[in-house]
């Protein structure tokens, strides 16, 4: 089983919606050649990603989010957001598999992907979400400076996280 997958998703044609992908691309540069450390990028999460993540011990999903303090979708309880990741334009938090889907669409949430992985492949990787806050979502390929600053903050935080995983 491989050690870590960093999965960045979003729409790079919509300004800050692509910062999750930028995060994964930064990871790819440092993971290159290191066995068991992988990245994946996509427009959105899909059912087959449950198969992909079932082969890893650790997963980090990276995506853009609306600014603090709340965002549309599954806002995690504040106590679940890991210390050190608040107030700097990103938040990093642990998630668990979704047992139910209250509102179902083709686009899967990270929790749903975990839930499918558990049901179909009997594997629940240790999974975190790296949400990097964006400011603008217009039809443009270039993220805002604010989002890029948040990305750098998230990256600085992540360098400690992955060092811990790699050193285990």
């Amino acid at each position: 089983m491989d050690e870590l997958l960093v999965y960045g998703y979003g729409n790079p044609g919509c300004q800050d919606d692509g910062v999750g992908i930028l995060f994964a691309e930064k990871c790819e540069q440092i993971f290159r050649g290191i066995p068991g450390f992988c990245t994946e990028i996509n427009y959105q999460l899909n059912v087959e990603d449950s198969y992909l993540i079932s082969g890893f011990r650790n997963i980090i999903f990276a995506d853009a989010a609306l600014p603090d303090p709340a965002f549309i979708g599954s806002s995690p309880p504040l106590e679940d957001i890991e210390a050190g990741s608040k107030g700097k334009g990103f938040y990093y938090y642990r998630i668990q598999p979704a047992v139910q889907i209250a509102f179902s669409t083709h686009a899967m949430s990270p929790q749903s992907i975990l839930g499918l992985s558990e049901e179909l492949y009997q594997n629940v990787p240790r999974c975190h979400v790296m949400h990097i806050t964006g400011e603008s979502w217009e039809f443009d390929a270039d993220p805002t400076e604010q989002a890029l600053e948040h990305l750098e903050n998230a990256w600085g935080y992540f360098e400690n996280v992955w060092t811990g995983i790699a050193g285990r």
């Binding site: 919606d17 059912v47 549309i72 669409t105 179909l120």
Partner: protein, 483 residues
């Protein structure tokens, strides 16, 4: 007291839609509408861009079916660069594109059946909404769920090796393709370990068909009578009448099978098809010009395709097609939920085509692109998973796009979907004192059979607020839920 029911968003479809149902003071359904609330405007965005950008740019209409837009735009650009009107590419160019397209159809149809449609079939239209989804399918029908996941993955991998990446690939270019496939790239998907190989995909596609046929026999009344209504049907067909999802001529038949259009070069589509605009939705209403707006609307997609074609040129799918046609004694099939049956036959056909193409040595050819005398205008049509997709562009002397007209598959199905909503609402909600969740899901089941891609159909970015409102006959909000 009269009421207005709003279902928003419609679930387990691609994109965002809203249904409104008005109930009069006597408890009868008086009006139904499927509103499409997204506006995309790609036809305007693409103007002023160089024509060669179109296949890459326009596919960003959608993250679900980008390959269809990529290929339709490329086909239109083939005309503009003088590479012919669909059959003028090199063998390598055409077969690479075909392989890409069948990968797209295979994964899209698989996703729709296993992920979007099967929860209603397995748990019932009135099943518990908490389990009436892919997780519920995974918990109760694990083998089916695993197959659905792997079939979708296989199709995505075929797209990746032909287009360059799974989403928003760049493989098709004006006049051809930008890469071939080596035998080494093909081997994992042709000869690899189970289940990710072409033979297993054919086997599973056949299994899914057998599952549905068995389900239909046991639930005949529901499958045959749910939202059944007569309509015209339109699609591309190969010149000899065969099913061809990549290229052909336009054919339309009425509900009894009489040909309304036949052997029409789709470069001339504007002579035969028009679009109507209404005030309450961003999605337009295409119709056959000679029949007018009331009688000229038509269905597209799997149900329509199997009504317009004469045969399927792959053996296993052809055998299933014969069984399917015999069910209606050779006449067109107008039963909405039989779309799932037709879709699964196409899934089997796509698997057979992928297997055949992967063995074709033309995929290793080096002659990738062709061109000739440039034209100022080009039309590209393709049978996308959801139905006939039209891309039409004009360019100026500087090679910049001056006009774009897109009629996407789901737009073609606008009237049929609205008709489905109306029929189902009347059937389930007339004279009912209480409007329940299963009733509203029944409306969604009817829409879902068309596998609509509502994102494409209005050619949202980011956040889309979702709300449910129940209004009384005076328009006062009785109940509101915001997400």
């Amino acid at each position: 007291m009269g009421r207005k029911i709003t279902i928003e968003p419609v679930t387990r479809v691609e994109g965002h839609g809203k249904v409104t149902i008005k109930i009069d003071d006597k408890g009868k359904v008086s009006q139904t509408r499927l509103h499409i609330v997204e506006f995309r405007g790609f036809e305007r965005f693409v103007q002023g861009r160089p024509y060669w950008e179109a296949p890459v740019l326009v596919q960003r209409l959608c993250g679900i079916c980008p390959v269809s837009h990529h290929l339709a735009a490329a086909k239109a650009m083939d005309v503009i660069v003088g590479a012919g009107t669909g059959d003028g590419l090199t063998p390598t160019g055409e077969k690479m594109r075909r392989l890409m397209h069948y990968g797209q159809v295979f994964q899209s149809h698989s996703l729709h059946f296993f992920h979007l449609a099967s929860p209603d079939l397995l748990f019932g239209v009135d099943g518990d909404p908490k389990i009436r989804n892919i997780i519920g399918v995974a918990m109760e029908h694990k083998e089916l769920a695993v197959q659905g996941v792997m079939m979708r993955k296989f199709g995505q991998e075929i797209i990746r090796i032909t287009a360059g990446k799974k989403i928003h690939g760049t493989g098709a270019i004006p006049g051809g393709i930008n890469k071939n496939l080596t035998k080494e790239e093909i081997a994992p998907w042709l000869e690899g370990d189970d289940p990710l190989n072409a033979d297993k995909m054919v086997e599973w596609a056949q299994g899914a068909l057998d599952f549905f046929k068995d389900y239909q026999k046991k639930n005949k009344d529901f499958i045959d009578n749910f939202s059944a209504f007569p309509s015209n049907h339109l699609s591309l067909v190969r010149k000899d009448g065969a099913l061809d999802l990549y290229h052909g001529v336009l054919r339309a038949v009425d509900y009894q099978g009489k040909k309304i259009l036949d052997d029409v070069d789709y470069q001339d589509y504007l002579k035969y098809i028009r679009e109507e605009v209404k005030t309450w939705t961003y999605m337009k209403f295409p119709y056959l010009k000679d029949l007018g707006t009331d009688k000229g609307w038509y269905r597209v997609g799997p149900l329509a395709r199997l009504n317009t074609i004469d045969y399927i040129p792959t053996p296993l799918a052809q055998k299933e097609f014969e069984i399917y046609k015999a069910y209606t004694k050779g006449k067109p099939n107008n039963m909405c939920l039989h779309t799932h049956w037709a879709r699964l036959i196409e899934t089997l056909h796509s698997a057979e085509m992928i297997r055949t193409l992967l063995k074709d040595p033309d995929l290793q050819g080096d002659d990738l692109v062709t061109s000739g005398t440039h034209e100022k205008e080009g039309v590209g049509l393709i049978e996308a998973p959801r139905g006939t997709l039209f891309h039409h562009y004009a360019v100026d002397d500087g090679d910049l796009i001056t006009m774009a007209n897109l009629i996407v598959s789901t737009t073609n199905n606008n009237v049929p979907m609205n008709s489905a909503v109306n029929i189902i609402a009347r059937s389930y909600m007339d004279n009912q004192k209480e409007i329940t969740e299963p009733m509203m899901n029944a409306v969604e089941v009817g829409i879902r059979a068309y596998d609509p891609c509502l994102s494409c159909a209005t050619h949202a970015l980011g956040k889309m607020p979702m709300s449910f409102e129940l209004l009384d006959s005076r328009g006062q909000v009785i109940q509101q839920v915001q997400k």
